[in-house]
Subunit: 661 residues, 2 copies
């Protein structure tokens, strides 16, 4: 029977070399069918798994092929067979750049022949034909690789089909050499090139302190300057932070300026919201004149570096009605047919001190996009390598994807932190399209069940792309529970944030246990967003020493520098959360026991994870109290009992010191 | 700052129309990132889910777009918002063909405007500017669609900016018309076209009976013919089967012919293995001369159809050493350098009565591939629409993928059943690349835990591509437990297969409780693979009436026609397996209670799934015994107690009749 007209030519569908004969599937890590890069850190070893199999009984081999995106050639790392057609290998991320990787696998024709002839020989079968086949395979291989000439000579010197000839063929040294040179049978490559982004360490491990520079004069009547901030650097450094983050530092508009406590009308002397960016003095690449000059800013960046701090700036795209762009580029904004400018709004709410750009306006694409990119590049060029992005979920995702890729091409070390508090899939999408770090729901996760479930979720597939920064408060979030929790609540929440997440942060005032709310709201009273405040940095009851201890133990213990390694421990009291942070190598382990009830003493038994060190339940283990430095002490047995009193010790943090093997 | 040379042109990365602004992700069904089609039946409604969201507050809309692969244009089905950015819609598979589908979503600019203006109006705000904007939007829409001229006229007739004009704009009838005509803002399409294969019903629901035509003479001394098979059709039809499957019917080679019980040397008169295909009389498109002619075969196909049976043939690619292809096409086979032909082997095992083709031999690709395809097309042209494929896992997957697609282009109703008993990922891969139905591990799943776990696995993601056929035995598998289980065991295993899987089958002799093994092996003694047998079709103790009852209840109860709808029920006895087969609409429900111990009576309490019908635990429900027809009876309460005696009632099968709402 002849092919019918509807039948396809075989050449359309198949490669005559048999690509695809070796199946490579279920590759991990791979997200969204290869659409979404996974995130790791430079220095990490990436483990790659794949299911690899083929028809028949031939021996298979496989390699990871990988390269940094600026390298022309693939590098190779071997994979080894595990079980149930599953293979595994790994490669190292050496630099802060994107890497591509995929998998190749092939039939090891030579190795299969060796295996076959050995089995037959062991069963006492005659293998003369098989030896002839082996010689032919060797001849072919030596055509491809001159170095096999001597092996071939040795084999050919033996009597044809003899045991001696077979012996020369399957000599282990020869086998390896021929295997390396022989053609890779039905060489198949996985059909997607996957991407892993190797970020710098701060993307996962950093300790953030946020302050309003204009409040740094310690005098509510005087606008703080960058020089005032420089004077505060030892204070911030003293608590052990490494990122110092400022809300917007740009000129602030006059039109529709907000007054104190977000009142619609500013009084004379009111400084306005720092988020109403832009005035006669300039826009997103200008500095508020009362803060200082660009030279002052440069001095601040340098001084911060000398104090072990890097400056993070706010990237908030909205404009005040006085922003220079509105006159210079009306085509970037959204106007109604009657010539009125659309203010930011979420009907019926209106935000009349800001207007939004329109990314897809005729005339805005691509000039606006370039201008916004150039704002980031401007500050990056001034030494800023971290941008906290304000409300990214209200701007188009394709814009962020492009912007982040674009900036990272020039500055691979720039980190963008997504300040989105919105629906979970948008939060995840922002991480997927490139944000290196993200704000989280942490401030609204307070009970044992909530915390366990949330940290577990972050540690799963989500954690391949989404890196949390556990802020304990922000200028927008004065957490309701903290408003009445007292000092113990601040100790508890900072402990949770600093030990559960590699990146954590606080907004100044938290260390002073500041919690006065706008009545009934999650907002601070007399918020610095709208006015200059002066603080008593030595306010009685402050928790500076606790925060200092937290940041020190984070530096000293690798287990506290990640967010995916929490092991929740049995603790038979629902007000007590107990967990271990644990390195995969088991060479660092910190146990944290937290009383979530800030008002009452809670007693509990809980389990020390002796099993993780291969120890029996009745074993002893040494421990070090990381909050009350002193000699190590000995814990006897898996079950321990503790009392956690809000007044004295709402939390316990112990480093376990397993016996050296 | 100017763009640096390393920066990308924005046009390279982005569409100025804002495609991608609306995110469409996590589409279901989608397997392997869109690489693998899912399988359904013609007539099924395919539900499609997706996460859909965008920046900001605009109203979104979404549609499934779909088409049969031979249709030039997309059709559309609306999606509706569920919760948490999740949307859902469905479309119907009308024909036995492949369908493509994907998702489109867009910002509903007009609907968003209506929503905004209504909210503002409700809050008492002045909306003059907004009305002007609405009129402009309407003007734009009517440029795209003439039918809006009258709406526009009506709106323009009102005073500009008046409440009356607003009223005309947001009149519900106008809103719908404008919405349909207005431009779809930032129209985005999911980045993959996904495939669903709509097979005919038999792919999921069919009852198979396997026999060796040459044994149908009822005389071991006489080779059976197709006419003998025709005489047996009423017997097979009487038990309610709808597929009649034959092992290979082709000429059998003489060289190295196997003797009885797989002995290496045939005696005079031995008929050889049906799997040693090919002799002087022809190869894969020839019929064994002793069975009859092609005309006899055609008569058999017609007679079978008249008995409600369709013929399934075996497609076994190996060749006997006498197969005509070996002389005609030596280039299709694998020869050693010394001119010897490689026999099939799995060292140290040898199968010297067959040789394998080599799919990637120089000279074999593609001519061998076309020849094999033409074998299938030859039999398809003779009216055969089901092929049971022998050992597909020992042939290249790309070959099967091509072959099945190729055959289905001409004969979309052809079903290929993969006879692979190998590692799980290869089993799945064969299903993924196209086999419509697969043999399973069912014969080796005997305990309650094994059956529950296996059926649950099949009902998960695996079931999107892998359709099981639960054969209770095969000429190669005389299940070890059945060798000693007695009649009750045959009743139990046939009940499990026929009620847990939409497709099931038996190899003749099972209904006679035949189980004599080759001692110590999973093989039958005096196997029909190597000799002609004669059977007493009325052997005492046969279970024909039970099988007849099973096939009848399968036809009468839709819940028994699928394999993904088993609900395992609590039964407090590890020897008793209880489950309900349930339609999603709850309009058909069959409860099966099986004593897995063929030797002892087992008593148990178990739960009737009253909750599935919204009934309380103490409710009553009517039931019908499907094995002992009679009047319905009433079950009182969720927990029921039964005694299952191997001698009298090893299984109970009840149809539940819930009260009409």
């Amino acid at each position: 029977m002849n092919a019918r007209p509807t039948l396809t030519s075989i050449e359309e569908m198949l490669e005559p070399d048999g690509t695809g004969r070796v199946v490579i599937e279920n590759v991990w890590p791979e997200l969204d069918g290869g659409r979404t890069p996974v995130k790791r850190l430079a220095g990490d070893e990436v483990e790659v798994w794949a299911d690899i199999f083929s028809d028949g009984h031939d021996i298979l081999r496989a390699e990871i092929i990988f390269r940094a995106e600026d390298e022309p050639d693939w590098r190779r790392a071997p994979m080894t067979f595990l079980d149930n057609d599953r293979w595994k290998g790994s490669f190292k991320l050496e630099r802060n750049i994107r890497y591509l990787y995929t998998v190749e696998a092939w039939r090891d024709v030579w190795g299969s022949w060796v295996n076959e002839v050995q089995k037959k020989k062991a069963a006492g079968q005659i293998v003369t034909s098989e030896i002839a086949e082996g010689v032919a395979l060797l001849e072919k291989a030596s055509e491809r690789n001159d170095s096999l000439a001597s092996v071939l000579g040795e084999v050919q010197a033996q009597e044809t089909g003899s045991d001696e000839q077979l012996g020369a063929l399957i000599d282990p040294f020869h086998v390896k050499a021929v295997q390396d040179a022989a053609q890779r049978g039905n060489l198949s490559r996985y059909d997607r090139e996957l991407v892993v982004i190797a970020d710098r360490t701060a993307a996962r491990f950093s300790s953030w302190y946020e302050l309003f520079p204009r409040s740094m004069s310690d005098d509510p009547a005087r606008h703080g300057t960058f020089d005032d901030v420089i004077k505060k650097l030892p204070y911030v450094q003293g608590m052990g932070f490494d990122v110092l983050y400022f809300p917007p530092i740009h000129p602030i508009g006059m039109k529709n300026r907000k007054g104190r406590n977000n009142s619609l009308k500013a009084e004379r002397g009111d400084v306005g919201s720092v988020y109403a960016i832009g005035s006669d003095a300039g826009g997103h690449d200008a500095i508020h004149p009362d803060l200082g000059t660009i030279e002052d800013f440069r001095r601040l960046v340098t001084a911060a570096k000398q104090h072990g701090l890097e400056i993070a700036l706010d990237f908030a795209i909205q404009c005040s009605p006085d922003h220079p762009w509105i006159k210079e580029h009306p085509e970037w904004f959204d106007w109604r047919p009657d010539g009125t400018l659309k203010y930011a709004e979420n009907p019926p709410k209106k935000y009349e001190d800001i207007v939004n750009v329109d990314f897809y306006n005729r005339g805005a694409f691509p000039s606006l996009w370039y201008a916004l990119r150039d704002v980031v590049l401007f500050w990056a060029n001034e030494g800023v390598r971290i941008f906290r992005v304000d409300n990214p979920h209200t701007k188009p995702l394709p814009f962020w994807k492009w912007l982040i890729r674009e900036v990272n091409r020039t500055y691979p070390d720039v980190i963008f932190l997504a300040e989105a508090f919105t629906r979970p899939k948008m939060m995840r999408a922002l991480a997927k399209i490139g944000f290196q770090q993200s704000y989280t729901y942490f401030t609204w996760r307070n009970t044992k069940a909530e915390l366990t479930s949330y940290v577990t979720e972050l540690a799963g597939d989500l954690g391949e792309v989404y890196r949390p920064n556990f802020f304990v408060n922000t200028p927008d979030i004065n957490p309701i529970p903290l408003q009445t929790a007292g000092r113990a609540g601040f100790i508890v929440r900072s402990t949770l944030a600093a030990t559960l997440s590699g990146a954590w942060g606080l907004y100044s005032g938290f260390e002073l246990c500041e919690a006065k709310p706008l009545p009934g709201k999650e907002e601070y009273l007399d918020s610095e967003k709208y006015e200059i405040r002066a603080w008593d940095w030595d306010r009685p009851g402050n928790i500076r020493s606790h925060i200092t201890a937290l940041n020190k133990m984070r530096r000293d213990n690798a287990a506290l520098q990640d967010f995916r390694n929490a092991l929740f421990l049995n603790a038979w009291n629902d007000n007590v959360l107990a967990y271990a942070k644990l390195m995969p190598e088991r060479d660092n382990c910190v146990v944290v026991i937290v009383n979530l009830d800030p008002h009452n003493r809670q007693d509990t038994s809980f389990e020390i994870p002796l099993w993780e060190f291969g120890l029996p339940d009745h074993a002893t283990i040494e421990a070090q109290d990381l909050l009350r430095p002193g000699s190590p002490f000995t814990l006897h047995g898996k079950v321990q009992t503790v009392a956690l009193d809000p007044a004295t010790n709402p939390v316990l943090i112990w480093r376990l010191i397993p016996p050296r093997p």
